[in-house]
């Protein structure tokens, strides 16, 4: 006999699932401290900055998504400085002065990073040059000769006479 799940239990489990799904996705959005902002501009600046600054301990995470304690400290500092009215540039500069350029997730274009920025273009240029050269070389090659039937027979005879070696 087939076991029957009471309808009410099925409805209940569905409801539980529906209730928990959004909770899970909200928890996944932001780590750490619940923050309150009175001004929307502050909130926006904070949200941008925590994604621009790198957690120097975990290195491949922005402080926004990092669980490291240092990242929490840095988020708190960004929050406090934002509320105190510092603009984004000043806060990034503050972090760079302490942790170096490394703290910026997007390296600025400056003397020691120009090669980093230029390398994709240099590689593309190099590839284009190599391609152009190989095309040019192929163009300069003489076209493959077209033999008549008579010539072909002559060649075949010469080949056989010279001991079956391949024609140069």
């Amino acid at each position: 006999m087939k076991p029957r799940i009471p309808l009410i239990r099925r409805a209940l489990s569905l409801w539980l699932l529906a209730a928990w799904l959004p909770a899970g996705s909200v928890m996944g959005l932001a780590i750490g401290e619940p923050l309150t902002f009175t001004r929307e501009a502050h909130q926006r600046q904070y949200d941008i900055l925590v994604r621009e600054l790198r957690c120097t301990v975990c290195q491949s995470e922005a402080i926004h998504e990092s669980n490291a304690e240092l990242a929490a400290d840095m988020r708190r500092r960004v929050y406090e400085m934002t509320l105190a009215g510092h603009d984004a540039g000043a806060i990034i500069e503050f972090m760079v002065q302490r942790y170096g350029d490394y703290v910026r997730y997007r390296p600025p274009l400056q003397a020691n990073t120009w090669l980093l920025w230029a390398s994709p273009f240099l590689l593309a240029l190099f590839g284009a040059l190599a391609w152009w050269r190989s095309v040019a070389v192929r163009r300069r090659m003489p076209p493959a000769p077209v033999f008549t039937g008579q010539e072909r027979a002559l060649l075949e005879r010469l080949r056989r006479e010279s001991g079956g070696g391949r024609l140069p």
Partner: protein, 183 residues
């Protein structure tokens, strides 16, 4: 055909060499922008006494080390015997007790040696951010004017002390002695 093959080999080996060099680099050894700058200001309670407020001035005066440590940091514990040797050798060592609990830090120092002359208590990592701390232990060398001359992220080793830290301290001390003689 030949020269092109050689060029290709050269290119590939140059790339491999570059990648190999990358393997040898420690990605945690970030250059500190603070080297060459004066010690960042701070105001913190002393670890031993909450009523005593320490500032960067308490670290400045002679060539000294500043060590960032915590009881939860195992590497700091293994580094401490070396610090003890330095302290016994007459090198002043100041410290930040970083993101720690006062009780456990004091208990730890009570049951083992204490190489530190001054300990600033930084439970929330406030001074930590200003000093660019991100991985305990960290050690700074301050000259007599309080300028940061060196920063080591991670534990000190005997080799590192012999190769870099002690010679630097010698040089700084000699410079300081010359300056004192002139004035």
């Amino acid at each position: 055909m030949k020269p092109r093959l050689i060029l290709l080999l050269l290119g590939v080996s140059a790339l491999l060499g570059l990648l190999f060099m990358g393997l040898g680099l420690n990605s945690r050894d970030l250059p500190s922008p603070l080297v060459g700058k004066p010690a960042p200001p701070f105001m913190l309670e002393a670890l031993e006494n909450a009523e005593v407020i320490l500032t960067e001035r308490d670290f400045i005066g002679e060539v000294a080390l500043v060590n960032v440590w915590a009881t939860w940091c195992g590497t700091c514990r293994s580094e401490k015997p070396l610090l003890m040797e330095l302290a016994r050798g007459g090198i002043p060592i100041h410290a930040f007790n970083y993101r720690d609990e006062r009780d456990s830090a004091l208990r730890y120092l009570n049951v083992s040696d204490n190489p530190y002359r001054t300990i600033a208590y930084d439970p929330k990592g406030d001074a930590g951010i200003d000093w660019g701390v991100y991985a305990t232990p960290e050690t700074y060398v301050l000259d007599a004017e309080g300028v940061i001359r060196y920063k080591r992220i991670g534990p000190l080793t005997r080799q590192l002390l012999l190769d870099e830290v002690l010679p630097l301290i010698e040089t700084l001390r000699a410079g300081e002695a010359r300056r004192m003689a002139q004035s």
